[in-house]
Amino acid sequence: MDLVDLYCDQVYVINEQQVAYEGHPHQLWQQNALLERARLRLPDRLRHGQEVGETYDLVY
């Protein structure tokens, strides 16, 4: 998923035999319901953004 996030210009999500999403990856990351349905995980870059409180304690 990281590769998709960093490099791809276009991403298609296949779910239930059909194209469930097409477009730029960055807009995909906002569609939580879809991500969950298609069993996809956010790229590391964004996932850690969400868990800021917890992870930053570890680093600094």
Binding site: D9, H48, V59
Partner: protein, 465 residues
């Protein structure tokens, strides 16, 4: 006295070396470390560094099983593992292996779990309650009578874990258990381990090349270098901050948490001229009566990098095969460079399109790396000089010049991967299809591959992941 027992390590590895043949340049070289009770230790190392071999040495299978050579000692609770009876140590050290496909010998979940219990001579009356109990632990009660080969990768790994739990070992070794799983299944598996850890206080030894998801319950990280030496034995925090270069030099992933600046996406604001390379219209495909793809429409533009994502078994591979013309669609059509797919001549099509398979070995057809790369050019009927020059150039670009005359099967994982891409580049293809190219690859291989791909993209090739 109490302190004494606490200090006594569960596993103590002392100056241990191992190799399949001889100890001049051993695969594992004079490694020493300990694993304490209730500790979670993570072992990192790039592919081919002998990580998996260590796990098999720890449970006493190696060196006997492969007639390898070893020196140094491994102690389990202070007793040398050589002094254990056959099969005895296995009950104390359980392993979950990497490949979900090849760690079972029975057909149904129930029988596989029973197999483990029979091995350790559990009385028959106790077997069923134990099976039910462990299925509850891994959350798979409903799958008791299912066939193992019909389960998903993630479920298979859970069954493998259940078998290990039935042995009730003091140490659980996890040998890249999530390497073949999709992202969500891996996180589920990791959370399962995390929960177990909190409940049972077993020692856990994890072998992984990507540490990210395991970090929040890892106590210590060991790093094995390519020469099989242990170069770090540290807490995650200190390792990934002060000793960061050490890890990077080995081509390993630095956990994202410890990367000061996250990688910037390189795909913002595309203003490339839009020219369609491949158009897919109303494509449907079914196998027997199961619909796999239903009414798919896609447009792939020149010079774009496009990904399809979806859970395992969603039909990604099938779609790739349809695009490559190896499968015929049941309905709808595919147009490639303005020509309908069925009008393409096989040989012409292969010149304009490349397909890199998940397992590089499947694509090798000759005996040397050189022949492998030049094969396509010979088929295309180029002159000898052109072939020689281009082949040398490609081998050089892919850092394979030194292995020119090696057998493709004898190369390392990363080299095989590079070679399999190189074979597709006899001409700059208009479309390059990849089937999960970075599956189970370490950071270095992944980065190398992506830079090659990036480079092709600027030349106008459409990349499809």
């Amino acid at each position: 006295m109490k302190e004494m027992t606490q200090l006594k390590p569960l596993i103590e590895v002392n100056q241990f070396s191992f190799d399949y043949e001889q100890l001049n340049e051993p695969l594992i070289s004079e490694v020493s470390f300990t694993i304490n009770k209730d500790e979670t230790v993570l072992l990192m190392g790039s592919s081919g560094s002998g990580k998996s071999t260590i796990s098999l040495c720890l449970n006493g299978l190696y060196p006997d099983a492969v007639e390898g050579v070893a020196s140094g000692d491994i102690f389990f609770k202070g007793i040398n593992i050589k002094d254990f009876e056959k099969g005895e140590l296995n009950q104390n050290v359980g392993i979950v292996f990497q490949d979900p496909e090849s760690q079972f010998c029975m057909i149904t979940v129930e029988n596989e779990l029973a197999f483990t219990l029979e091995n350790i001579e559990t009385p028959r009356e106790e077997i069923e309650p134990k099976i039910d109990q462990v299925l509850k632990t891994i959350g798979m009660v409903d799958y008791k009578y299912h066939n193992i080969h019909e389960l998903s990768g993630g479920q298979k790994q859970k069954v493998a874990l259940a078998s290990v739990l039935l042995l009730d070992p003091e140490l659980i070794i996890l040998d890249e258990p999530t390497a073949n799983l999709d992202p969500v299944s891996s996180i589920e598996f990791i959370n399962l381990i995390k929960g177990l850890k909190q409940e049972t206080q077993k020692s856990i030894f994890i072998i992984e090349h990507k540490a990210d998801d395991w970090l929040d319950f890892t106590d210590r990280v060991l790093v094995l270098n390519k020469q099989g030496q242990l170069i770090a034995n540290d807490t995650p925090r200190s390792l990934f901050t002060t000793n960061k270069p050490l890890v990077e030099n080995e081509g390993l992933f630095i956990p994202k948490t410890y990367q000061k600046q996250t990688l910037k996406p390189q795909n913002e604001g595309t203003s490339k001229p839009v020219e369609a390379n491949m158009v897919i219209n109303n494509l449907s495909f079914n196998r027997k009566k199961t619909m796999i793809l239903n009414n798919i429409n896609m447009t792939l533009n020149k010079g774009e990098m496009v990904a399809i994502v979806g859970e395992n078994g969603a039909g990604k591979s099938t779609l790739l095969q349809l695009m490559a013309g190896i499968l015929k669609p049941k309905k709808g059509n595919i147009t490639f460079l303005g020509e309908p797919m069925q009008k393409w001549k096989e040989q012409k099509l292969r010149q304009h399109m490349g397909f890199v398979f998940q397992n590089p070995e499947h694509q090798f057809i000759t005996d040397t790396a050189y022949d492998e790369v030049s094969f396509g050019m010979t088929l295309n009927g180029y002159s000898e000089d052109v072939i020689k020059e281009r082949t040398e150039q490609l081998l050089h670009n892919f850092q394979l010049s030194a292995h020119k005359w090696s057998n493709p099967f004898a190369l390392s994982g990363g080299q095989k991967r590079r070679l399999s891409v190189a074979t597709m580049l006899d001409e700059t293809p208009d479309l390059l299809l990849f089937d999960e190219p970075t599956f189970g690859q370490d950071a270095q291989t992944t980065n190398e591959l992506m830079s090659i791909v990036k480079d092709l993209q600027t030349k106008g090739t459409t990349i499809f992941l």
